[in-house]
Amino acid sequence: MAGALRDRVSETTHYHFPPSAAYRLNRCLYALKSDRDFAERFVADARAATEAMGLSDGERADLLRLDRDALVGRGAHPYLVFMAGLRLKMLREPSAMEYF
């Protein structure tokens, strides 16, 4: 019964349980989304900003390209990928936005 319940809960289509193997990757996306200083350093020099984030070479390469499908495939949370991208756009092109 417990096993069946666990399987049932994990049957999501879009937003899955975040694997701990992707913790550092998600931590980095979270920083891009929520830590403005880090996001500004990323915009200035993405390679240098991600130097000490503990990512694998593959994770880092996908992050530098913000390759959504590759990042999600590695266990990145889709919302974090989405909002990290939007926040970077807000930083890079602030005048392209209308503020209410």
């Binding site: 049932r8 809960v9 994990s10 049957e11 999501t12 289509t13 879009h14 937003y15 899955h16 349980f17 975040p18 913790y23 998600n26 931590r27 979270y30 989304k33 929520s34 403005r36 959504r68 499908d69 999600v72 949370h77 889709p78 919302y79 974090l80 990928v81 989405f82 909002m83 939007l86 926040r87 756009k89 807000m90 602030p94 392209a96 936005m97 209308e98 503020y99 209410f100």
Partner: protein, 285 residues
């Protein structure tokens, strides 16, 4: 309309002179919070955004008329206050104030601390193991609706978090039960409280479904809610919400626990290329 530099501030001045009535839940609404309503990139249809703003202004007008002492807002933190270090299913902000940022927007809002504390204490008494925080940042999911609907001067709030983004989330049945308990707690309080659910409807941020939400599913939900069948939402499954882009419906379902089968008045349903934006009111009794 407030600008990015605006700070919503509210005192805790009581309305002691108001007549006390038995039921102090004075209003119930659901309001979309998609960030493109606050900061519009060129990808978004300006006229659509303005139509959602108009529906939110109706909520503001209603709130002005209701003269609430506090706004209790149910929203799902978007991995802002609660990252993977600690993932609460349900949380209550219990402090003097709360604050957050979103892009150039910096906001700071007073919390109705006696009400917030009462919700935590009575919620736990009723069997809901609530996390509480006196310092967590406040996500834009709380701020965006308040930016548009908060009366002036602002009234204090009680932010109520429901986990919608980090699986496993609380079940719809649990959200409904928590909302029912919350409704009982609010109705027994002396303050006049308006309850707002933030978020929804169908959207799939960060997935290959982003440009194809389930608008027909949303319309079916709104039809059921308009017919006073809110209780049915408690029987939805987490899998279905995930499949239909409606993981945030948990905030609405929490509110439905408090308002029951009251028929919804749908102010607007505006499907953008990626998001079903709805603004809804429920009568309370």
């Amino acid at each position: 309309m407030c600008g990015p530099e605006n700070t919503l501030r509210a005192g805790l001045k009581s309305r002691a002179s108001c007549a006390r009535v038995a039921l102090m839940l004075v209003g119930a609404f659901a309001v979309a919070h998609t960030p493109q309503l606050l900061i519009r990139p060129e990808t978004e249809d300006r006229e659509l955004v303005l139509r959602v703003h108009a529906a939110m202004r109706r909520v503001k007008t209603r709130l002005v008329d209701m003269k609430p002492d506090a706004v209790a807002m149910v929203a799902g933190d978007h991995v802002e206050a609660f990252f993977l270090d600690a993932v609460p299913a349900l949380a209550v902000y219990v402090g003097r104030e709360c604050a957050g940022t979103f892009g150039p927007y910096r906001y700071r809002l007073a919390i109705h601390e006696p009400l917030a504390r009462s919700i935590v204490e009575q919620g736990i008494e009723r069997g809901f193991d609530l996390l509480y925080t006196q310092d967590a940042p406040l996500d834009y999911a709380f701020y965006v609706p308040l930016h548009f609907v908060m009366p002036e001067p602002a009234v204090p709030i009680v932010p109520l978090h429901v986990n919608v983004y980090l699986p496993p989330q609380p079940t719809p049945a649990r959200c409904y039960a928590w909302g029912a308990a919350l409704g009982e707690i609010l109705r027994a309080r002396p303050e006049r409280v308006a309850l707002i659910a933030s978020g929804g409807m169908s959207h799939f941020p960060g997935t290959d479904r982003y440009a194809s939400p389930e608008f027909d599913y949303d319309r079916g939900l709104l039809e059921a809610l308009g017919a006073g069948r809110g209780r049915e939402m408690a029987r939805l499954t987490g899998e279905e919400l995930d499949k239909r882009g409606n993981i945030e419906l948990r905030t609405w379902i929490t509110l439905l626990g408090a308002v029951g089968d009251a028929p919804a008045d749908v102010y607007c349903y505006e499907p953008s290329w990626h998001h079903g934006n709805a603004v809804v009111e429920w009568p309370v009794r």
